[in-house]
Each structure stands twice: as structure tokens, then as C-alpha cells.
């Protein structure tokens, strides 16, 4: 009887260990995938520009197109963001809604840039787009509260 009990205990212990170690193994595998991602990003010659517009009462209901150089990135509403990959160099991010708002970035390879878009008030129902480059620390935080523009 004793050998049978010992065998049963060994099987139960093996099941317990397998159950306990499986998530850890999965986490390790996930960690490896996460670690690989920045390495791939570093090798990429392209840079990323994130353009976002936080929710605000100013300019509620005013939407505009955003361009990077000659290429249209997205149609931006309040509380939204969009992302574009660009070739390093001097890149102008701009928008024209009644007047032109623009900011020029010195884009370096494999770097990430944040551009905050907003509108400023003109005469009566006249609104002007306003674009400004923000540092990553602020840009990341504000962007996390925005939704991605649906393609």
C-alpha cells in the first residue's frame, strides 16, 4: 500500500509543479518577445511620429486633416491620435483649417516623436490649428488618454 501512496504523491506533486511553473514559463516567453521588440525598433531606419489631440472644450466639434510633409496622416478629432513612420530628416507636420499650423521636427532614425495638436480661437467661429512638439514623457502620458484614429 505504501509504494502506491508514494507513487500517487509523486504524481500529485508533478501536477502541482507543472501548474505552478507553466505561467512563469509563459511570462518568460512573453518577456523575450518584449525584449526583442526594441531591438527591432533600434535597427529600423524609420522614425515614428505620434500626433494627438486631447479632449478639450476649446474647438469642440472642429476636425482637421494632419499631414507629414506631403503625406496625409489622418483626420483628427479631439481625444484621438494617429501614428506615422517617416524617413529621418527634416519633417514638417502641418494642418490647414482656415490658417496653417505647423511644426518642423529634426527626425533621427528609430526615434519616437510626439506632436500635440489643438485649436486656437479666432474671430467668431474662426478656429486655427496649432501644432507643437512635446517631450516624450508628457506626450506618452497624454497620448494614453486618447483613442487611435480608425483607418
Amino acid at each position: 500500500m505504501k509504494p502506491m501512496l508514494r507513487c500517487l504523491r509523486a504524481v500529485l506533486l508533478a501536477c502541482f509543479l507543472a501548474g505552478a511553473l507553466a505561467p512563469a514559463g509563459a511570462a518568460l516567453a512573453q518577456g523575450a518577445a518584449v525584449d526583442q521588440e526594441p531591438a527591432e525598433r533600434q535597427e529600423s531606419p524609420l522614425a515614428t511620429i505620434n500626433v494627438y489631440r486631447t479632449k478639450s472644450l476649446i474647438g469642440l466639434g472642429v476636425y482637421f486633416d494632419v499631414y507629414a510633409g506631403d503625406k496625409k496622416i489622418c483626420h483628427l478629432q479631439e481625444g484621438q491620435y494617429c501614428t506615422v513612420q517617416v524617413v529621418p530628416g527634416e519633417v514638417e507636420v502641418w494642418s490647414k483649417f482656415m490658417t496653417k499650423g505647423a511644426v518642423t521636427l529634426d527626425v533621427r532614425p528609430a526615434q519616437e516623436y510626439y506632436v500635440k495638436a489643438s485649436v486656437t480661437k479666432g474671430f467668431f467661429l474662426f478656429w486655427r490649428p496649432h501644432l507643437v512638439e512635446v517631450v516624450e514623457r508628457i506626450g506618452k502620458g497624454e497620448l494614453s488618454r486618447c483613442d487611435r484614429v480608425e483607418e
Binding site: S56, W94, T104, D106, T120
Partner: protein
């Protein structure tokens, strides 16, 4: 008028050549071991949205008092080294401020940056041309 090329050597600058002071130039032969490092950085700031909203509630904005302000800061630096030894450093900074009212917009940040970079290029050219110490050192055998 094209300024005199004071330093001819290896240029270490990855940006737009339009912003590079014309007192330095790239040359392969007879560079005299000069290496020129040029860089510029910019930063932006302005009135916050909440402050702008408060300003637009003032009755005076109807007659054109400012409803906001944009600031562009640009800093550039040019270092000249000869055979690995630093010979001269020139730096300049620019602040472009522009106000907007309901009748007129501020200078956009792209235009402000461009104006600053052009001003900084002229400033560094003038600093170099008036640097007597540099001329003296170059003239010395």
C-alpha cells in the same frame, strides 16, 4: 554678400545644410586637419489651453488684446577642432515670441524655428568673423 570661408575641413552635421554658417565649408584637400561640429536644438512653449480659454472670456479680446502666445527657443553651437584639439566654440540662442489675437494668428512654430535658425546662422557667422583670437592663431606659423 557671401561671407569669407574661415574654416575648411570635415563637417560633422547631419541636418539641413541651409542652416550651416557659410564661414565654414567642407573640403577634402588642404583641410589643415580641421573638423567642424555643428548642432542645433529647439524647444517650444506657449500659453496653456486653460489660460487661453480664460483670456478669451475677457471683453477686451474683442478689440484685439492677445488671446495666447507661442514661444520657440533654438540653440545652436559650432565647434572647431584641429587634430583633435578644440580651437574655438561659438554658440548662439534665439527666442521667438509671437502673440495671437482673434484677428491675427501667431507665427506658426515651423516658421518661428526657421526664422530663428536663419538668425543664428548670421549670428555665428558674425562671431567667427570678429574673433580676433582665431585669426591670430591661424596667422601664427
Amino acid at each position: 554678400m557671401q561671407p569669407y570661408v574661415m574654416v575648411c575641413g570635415d563637417i560633422r552635421y547631419a541636418g539641413n545644410a541651409l542652416y550651416l554658417p557659410s564661414t565654414v565649408a567642407a573640403c577634402e584637400n588642404g583641410s589643415g586637419g580641421y573638423t567642424v561640429f555643428f548642432s542645433h536644438e529647439q524647444d517650444y512653449s506657449g500659453t496653456s489651453e486653460a489660460y487661453e480659454l480664460a483670456l478669451s472670456l475677457l471683453p477686451s479680446y474683442m478689440v484685439g488684446s492677445p488671446t495666447g502666445k507661442d514661444k520657440v527657443y533654438v540653440y545652436s553651437q559650432l565647434k572647431v577642432s584641429q587634430d583633435g584639439r578644440e580651437v574655438a566654440t561659438y554658440s548662439a540662442a534665439c527666442l521667438k515670441e509671437s502673440y495671437r489675437t482673434i484677428f491675427s494668428g501667431a507665427v506658426n512654430n515651423s516658421e518661428g524655428r526657421l526664422q530663428c535658425l536663419n538668425a543664428l546662422r548670421a549670428n555665428i557667422e558674425n562671431q567667427m568673423l570678429r574673433d580676433e583670437q582665431f585669426w591670430t592663431r591661424r596667422a601664427a606659423p
